[in-house]
């Protein structure tokens, strides 16, 4: 925004002060995350910049924490666990969530408000309470400390995001398209895969991404429901922070930041594509 010509000195001072304040807040948002990236290349086991690092001496930098990470069995296992659990939970929650969203967006759906309330409750209930409830229940049916238990728990936590994103996509959905397909003799399954699915796909994918990131980042339920075998990356970081804090967690953090940048890009591209498609479709 350029400055209008009629601005007085006071206006100008305020104009600049306000921008300085805003950039300070943006700095507060980004700096803590970005500062870990250079620190993860520290040659010393410290959480602060050494003199060598500040003078850009190559000896101040090393890849030892990344080496530590990639050669550690428990970290490697946690990566595998995070992906196995995350992908399995995403498949469950995306399938169930998409079906439910299709049902919920039909006008003849009874008790819509109540059912919607129940379906998105995993997003509202504090995690500690969900985790405690699942801990007791899963122990009683012998699926605590198993992959199945963690996957089911994460699937439950991820579904609200799928339901919300897919329902939102279906708001602008033109039901006459499916009626036309049915009219032309397509079976409901064929109509779904040929007509509905391609149109709601961006919503389904971003819902699935939300579900995946929910599982990938989840720790409270893992703390209560998972055993040593099922430890995920956040769980391993939790022990890393609590027990023996070493800069290895900074290397892990850097890798995770890269993953979130990639995910953020995908979601942003999907959102733009969705907006573009909606802009093109006749109202």
């Amino acid at each position: 925004m350029s400055m209008p010509a009629y601005f007085t000195t006071k206006d100008k001072i305020w104009h600049y002060t306000f921008r300085v304040i805003c950039f300070a807040i943006f700095f507060f948002l980004l700096a803590p995350i970005l500062i870990m990236i250079p620190l993860s290349f520290n040659a010393q086991p410290f959480f602060t910049f050494t003199r060598e690092m500040l003078t850009l001496n190559p000896e101040g930098y090393s890849l030892r924490w990344y080496q530590d990470f990639f050669s550690s069995d428990s970290w490697m296992r946690s990566i595998r666990n995070s992906f196995v659990i995350g992908i399995a939970a995403t498949i469950v929650s995306t399938t169930l969530g998409t079906l439910a969203a299709l049902g919920l967006s039909r006008s003849e759906m009874p008790a819509k408000g109540l059912i919607m309330g129940i379906l998105i409750s995993p997003m509202i209930v504090p995690l500690i309470i969900s985790a405690a409830g699942m801990f007791f229940f899963f122990s009683s049916i012998n699926i605590a400390q198993t992959y199945l238990g963690v996957i089911l728990a994460h699937a439950a936590l991820g579904t609200p995001f799928v339901v919300i994103t897919v329902t939102a996509t279906l708001v602008g959905f033109d039901q006459s398209l499916t009626r036309a397909a049915a009219n032309l003799g397509a079976s409901p399954t064929r109509t779904f895969f040929k007509i509905t699915m391609p149109l709601i796909l961006p919503g389904v994918i971003s819902g699935a991404l939300f579900a995946f990131i929910t599982s990938f980042d989840e720790i409270v339920v893992v703390l209560f429901v998972a055993g040593v075998e099922q430890r995920t990356i956040p769980r391993e970081m939790w022990s890393g922070i609590r027990e023996d804090i070493s800069p290895t967690i900074l290397a892990v953090a850097t890798i995770l930041v890269m993953i979130s940048i990639a995910l953020l890009t995908v979601v942003e591209l999907l959102r733009r594509r969705g907006e573009r498609l909606r802009g093109l479709s006749p109202q």
């Binding site: 925004m1 602060t48 209930v125 579904t159 609590r242 942003e268």
Partner: protein
């Protein structure tokens, strides 16, 4: 099926009473009803799997956990005869011999020693929540009870002095019901006195009410901080052209998408005594080496880290509201003679209130149930109610008390969510 008897004036088939029929002869009304029912069933069948999944693996476990906060089977299971004998007892003195005889019968029901000790273990733990030392009284007695002979009253009081005190008996009688409120009594820092009335605990044993208070205060502080920091940047983003705003939005969205553990460890790195902030301040000579700030493992740490973590939840709803406020309103106010401050206060700010309400309630709801960050950076003074619930589940194993605290927290959150819904509607929960 009735065939068409006639046609109406438009030539459509009708039956003898003049009701419209479909081509196969069913009355139109019934055919429509059937089609509607079928569509309703299809919709339900689509929602059904997820609904069943959430009810079984999410809602039921939570209901079961809440049930633990009132469930009280231990005394009823272990001491049925004693409870019956205690019915006539007035609660003042040590009960008479028949009660001790009944207690002896209850304890000797299982002649096998290991099984007896297993059976009375939960009873001892349960009674110990109400009266310390009750556990050792039960376990010691369960070990020596086979040698007891009448009169049992002396035998029991010899085995453990607690049997000779009316206090233990009052607890047994009070908790001899399948449901109890005593976990809630404890969760509210209260206890039963000798007359069975609920009174406040001694000052130094009050924990939970203060902790709830601190959780609320910290959540309010965090909500206020996110508002203070979120309002300017949401406003700035809303006045920028869309292209620039989308670019700067990354600064808000990147933290939102970054792992919670990463953000929390970032603050540990920055705030600790030998961390980046303290080292920089020392290097710049602003503080001495011995004057390093303790920014972490206390309330300050919790507030800073959680403000950072929850800031996007404030900025996003605020931004979407501010985008819809036409800039012409402010210009109109100014051209009518309002100072910038008055125009902001009287014209712009009131229009942002829905966004502030939405963001504020969202941040507040999330922060009162937060567990991870307070546990990692909160130390002692930055702990919140969730940490106490986790402690009771994992360490002290007082699951009834954990369930009571959890139920209170859950009810609080649900009431807030209901308010949020009334205020803005759940549909406005925007993602990313």
């Amino acid at each position: 099926m009735a065939m068409a008897d006639a046609t109406d004036q438009h030539g459509a088939p009708t039956d003898s009473k003049g009701r419209l029929l479909t081509s196969d002869g069913t009355p139109l009304r019934r055919a429509l009803e059937r089609a509607n029912r079928r569509r309703k069933l299809t919709a339900l069948a689509l929602v059904g799997p997820l609904l069943a999944f959430i009810l079984i693996f999410f809602a039921f476990p939570i209901a079961q956990m809440m049930w633990r906060s009132v469930d009280n089977p231990q005394v009823v299971d272990a001491l049925p005869r004693t409870l019956e004998a205690l019915q006539a007892w007035d609660g003042r003195d040590v009960p008479p011999e028949p009660v001790f005889a009944a207690l002896h019968a209850d304890m000797m029901e299982d002649l096998d020693r290991t099984r007896r000790e297993q059976k009375f273990g939960p009873l001892g733990i349960r009674l110990n929540y109400e009266l310390s030392a009750a556990r050792s009284a039960i376990s010691r007695t369960a070990r020596s009870v086979p040698g007891f002979e009448a009169p049992y009253r002396d035998a029991f009081t010899d085995a453990h002095r607690l049997w000779g005190q009316p206090e233990l008996w009052r607890v047994i009688k009070r908790e001899g019901r399948p449901l109890t409120l005593s976990y809630y009594v404890a969760a509210l820092d209260r206890e039963y006195d000798e007359f069975g009335d609920i009174v406040k605990r001694d000052e130094n044993r009050r924990i939970y009410v203060n902790l709830f208070g601190r959780t609320l205060a910290l959540s309010l502080a965090i909500t206020f901080m996110t508002f203070l920091l979120g309002f300017p940047i949401a406003y700035y983003l809303s006045i920028l052209p869309m292209r620039h705003a989308n670019l700067l939005m990354i600064a808000v969205l990147l933290p939102f998408w970054t792992s919670l553990l990463v953000r929390t460890s970032a603050w540990i790195v920055l705030l600790q005594q030998q961390g980046v902030i303290n080292n920089t301040l020392v290097a710049l000579g602003i503080i001495g080496d011995d004057g390093r700030f303790s920014l972490i493992y206390n309330q300050t740490g919790t507030i800073i880290a959680m403000t950072h973590i929850l800031l996007p939840f404030m900025v996003l709803p605020l931004y979407s509201v501010m985008r819809t406020i036409p800039p012409s309103y402010m210009r109109a106010a100014k051209s009518l003679g309002a100072t910038p401050w008055t125009a902001f206060r009287r014209v712009y700010f009131p229009q942002t209130l829905p966004g502030i309400g939405a963001g504020g309630v969202l941040v507040f709801i999330i922060s009162i149930g937060y567990y991870i960050t307070p546990a990692l950076v909160g130390g002692q003074s930055g702990r919140m109610i969730s940490n106490e619930i986790a402690r009771h589940i994992q360490q002290s194993l007082n699951w009834g008390l954990a369930a009571a605290l959890g139920t209170m927290l859950l009810v609080g959150v649900l009431v807030l969510y209901w308010l949020y819904n009334r205020l803005v509607g759940a549909d406005s929960l925007k993602l990313g």
